[in-house]
Symmetry: C2
Amino acid sequence: MQRSTHQRRAIYRVLEEADRPLSPQEVLEHARGEVPNLGIATVYRAVKAMTEAGDLTSVQLPGEAPRYEFAGKHHHHHFRCLKCNRVFEIDGCPGGLAAMLPEGFQLERHDLVLYGACSECTNGSGV
Amino acid sequence: MQRSTHQRRAIYRVLEEADRPLSPQEVLEHARGEVPNLGIATVYRAVKAMTEAGDLTSVQLPGEAPRYEFAGKHHHHHFRCLKCNRVFEIDGCPGGLAAMLPEGFQLERHDLVLYGACSECTNGSGV
DNA sequence: TTAACTGCAAACCCTTTGCACGGTG
DNA sequence: CACCGTGCAAAGGGTTTGCAGTTAA
C-alpha cells in the first residue's frame, strides 16, 4: 500500500481543491505553496501511483499532455479555453451519437472536447 | 511561396495515396521508397509547412501522436475501432453543444472521437 | 545567381529513472 | 528498523533548430 507523505497529501489536496483537471506542472506550482522543495519527479510518480490505485483518472485532450482529476465522477466532458489554456469540466452530453455511425458499427464510448473562451477570458461580453 | 522539391513531392504523394491519416514517422517510412536519404526533420518541416499553407490538417486523437491528412474536407469527426485500431471518418455532428457551456463561455470549435467496433470487427452480431 | 530546402546532429522539452538520503509505518 | 518515498540530476524519446552544402526558380 502507499504511504501517506507530506508531499502526497499536498498533491492530493491540490487536485481536490482545483475544480478542473491539472497538469503535473500545474500540480507542482500549486503544491509548492505547501512543500516548497517539491520536485516534479515526485509529482509524476504520485499522480501515476494514484491513477493506478484508481483515485485519479488522466484527462487526455487531443495533442496535449495528460491532465489529472479525481476518478469516480459522473460522465462528463471538457472545455479548453483557447486563451488561458485552462481546462474545465462540462456536465452536458450530446445524445444520438450512435446514429452517426455507419451500418454495423457499434459505439462503446466517446470523447468530446469543446474549445473557445472561458468566462474570465470573454472580456467585453458580460463579465 | 514554397518550392516544389523532390522530397516534398514524395511526402505529398505518400499522403495522397494513403487512405488514412499518417504520422510523420509513417510518412518517412513510405517516402523513403522514393527518397532513400530523406530525413525525419524534412518530414516534420514539410507537414508543418503544408499544414500552415492549408494543404494538410493534423488529426489528433487523445493520447496519440498527431497524424496528417489532406485538408479541405467537409467538417467531420473520427471513429476509432478498439479492435483493429483503424480510424474512420464520421460525417455526422451532434448539435446543441453551445448549450452545454456555463454562463459566459463562448464556443469556437469542438473535437469528437467515437470508440467502438467497426463493421468488420463486429463479429457475431449480424455481419 | 540567390535564397529556400535538405540532411545531419545537436539542442530542446517533457517525462522517466538512478542514486543516496530522509521519513513512514 | 526496514524500506518506501523524495530530491537532484542525468538519461530517454520525440520534435525542433543550426549549419553548411544543395537545388529550385
